[in-house]
């Protein structure tokens, strides 16, 4: 508010009585208001308001032809100035007029005979409110614009179709990914990247909370993982490293679940470790029933002494992996709600690509919007024809 001077506000006094508008004008001018315009009829007031923006209108109710009530309603309804402050002048012995004025859209009243201090106070309060609302509105627009930009950056950070196509070409891996944040920014992330001609790493992560804080933490974890790729750490060592970093830099109470796997397409092996991640579904072959791997070790950031265990599974041609975040099984109630058993049942009954599409559509169409939690889905299938 420091930059805003209410005395520079454009005021319109509407009163057919010369002594009425004259008194208001003199009172306000004596208090430093320097942009005061006069309309001596309701019709003239409406014409003036159409032609130039005013910051506040001081309106007499009793006028010939177009009265103050009509002016008020027209400003609000026909001219569309919903937030323009309108202070009406009214006699205290007319309570019915006061109620009618508010019903017509008045913002406030000032009692006649006009008291100079009261008039100035009411004008000032409504001008300051208007300026604050305008500032808030601008701030909201700027914030939304920045959030949109941040969301675009976050969305672009997860693998795109070009990555899927490259992996299909180089490693015969068929990948589908989907990430939908609950607010504009989310704490979920995932990635799949080529480590060398035969190996690919994949992870899904879910930082606690939603919004900017969770998103920044997720970006931080993404950055740590990118930096660690060159260290060629095995999955358990990777989680160990990440846990130490998260415990060091993230405040107590914030944590992340993470699944990290390294696929060796030549040796047909998947090595993985899980830090409290939701169950991962694994098919040794897409014609076999899926197994659910529960995340056994503690989430990242809970204890710096946690030791992570590495597990191994064969990942031969035809093998599949399905990863999802707990946003998919958020218990919001209703028939569209899913639990882990429901996800597993769906993936047992239908092929993974179709199940992926069904789950994605369910999140988009049947889950309550905005989502209560971020949702990530990742489906990976080793093509039948992989050969080193």
């Amino acid at each position: 508010m420091s930059a805003y001077n209410v005395r520079d506000a454009a005021l319109l006094i509407v009163d057919d009585e010369p002594t009425g508008w004259g008194l208001l004008k003199e009172i306000l001018a004596a208090r430093g208001f320097n942009r005061i315009d006069i309309a001596t009829s309701g019709q003239e007031a409406l014409e003036k308001i159409k032609q130039r923006p005013y910051d506040l209108v001081l309106l007499d109710l009793v006028m010939p032809d177009v009265d103050g009530f009509t002016v008020c309603r027209t400003i609000r309804n026909s001219l569309g100035f919903e937030r323009l402050p309108i202070i009406v002048q009214t006699y205290l012995d007319k309570p019915g007029d006061r109620a009618r004025a508010f019903a017509a859209g008045a913002t406030d009243l000032v009692a006649k005979p006009i008291n100079a201090a009261e008039l100035e106070a009411r004008v000032r309060i409504h001008l300051e409110n208007r300026a604050m609302l305008a500032e808030l509105s601008l701030y909201k627009q700027r914030l939304e614009s920045e959030m949109d930009a941040a969301q675009r950056i976050q969305n672009a950070a997860v693998p795109q179709r070009a990555v899927y196509e490259a992996l299909a070409e180089s490693h015969n891996l068929h990948v589908d990914g989907y990430l939908r944040a609950s607010s504009q920014l989310g704490g979920d992330s995932w990635s799949i990247r080529r480590l060398d001609t035969t190996k690919v790493s994949v992870y899904t992560l879910d930082f606690s909370g939603h919004g900017v804080n969770a998103a920044l933490n997720a970006v931080r974890l993404d950055a740590l993982m990118s930096g660690a790729v060159d260290k060629a750490l095995d999955p358990a060592a990777m989680l160990q490293y990440l846990n130490a970093e998260i415990c060091r830099v993230v405040p107590v109470g914030q944590f992340a679940t993470l699944f990290y796997g390294v696929l060796d397409c030549e040796r047909r092996v998947l090595r993985y470790a899980s830090a409290g991640a939701p169950p991962v579904l694994y098919w040794s072959h897409h014609s076999a029933p899926p197994e659910a791997w529960e995340g056994s070790d503690l989430a990242l950031g809970l204890s710096s002494t946690t030791r992570y265990t590495e597990k191994t599974a064969t990942f031969a041609p035809g093998a599949q992996l399905f990863l999802y975040s707990d946003g998919l099984t958020y218990p919001f109630g209703g028939t569209a709600s899913l639990n882990d058993a429901g996800v597993q049942a769906l993936l047992s009954e239908t092929d993974m690509s179709r199940a992926f599409r069904l789950l994605r559509d369910r999140v988009e169409q049947d889950f309550p919007q905005p989502l209560r939690d971020d949702v990530t889905l990742v489906a990976i299938r080793q093509g039948e024809t992989y050969a080193s």
Partner: protein, 107 residues
């Protein structure tokens, strides 16, 4: 009391004696036309119009601290005699204002 002393003082403090005098001159200037309209409305038995004019007149008078004018029309009765009586009151009120103004400016 022809003038509401507290109200007149409040207005003089708010806008200056000079500006208040200007506003009162406008009131006295417009008054004959208002009285003509009042007499015509009363003559034509337009009760609502009479009430409207008197409401405006009394409101303006109260706003400007003209207590005598405000109270004169409290009973809403209009007649030739009352109009003549009011004109006398108006002259006396203007004189009272001149005296008030003189006292204030002498301070």
């Amino acid at each position: 009391m022809l003038l509401d002393d507290a109200r007149i003082s409040e207005l003089a403090d708010a806008v200056s004696v000079h500006k208040l005098d200007e506003l009162l001159q406008i009131f006295w200037r417009d008054l004959p036309e208002q009285l003509q309209q009042l007499a015509a409305a009363d003559n034509d038995n337009k009760i609502l119009q009479v009430a409207k004019i008197l409401h405006g007149l009394r409101g303006t008078a109260a706003n400007l601290g003209l207590k005598g004018v405000h109270e004169f029309w409290a009973d809403q009765t209009v007649s030739v005699e009352r109009l003549a009586e009011f004109k006398t009151l108006a002259v006396e009120t203007q004189a009272a204002w001149q005296a008030w103004q003189g006292r204030r400016l002498a301070l």
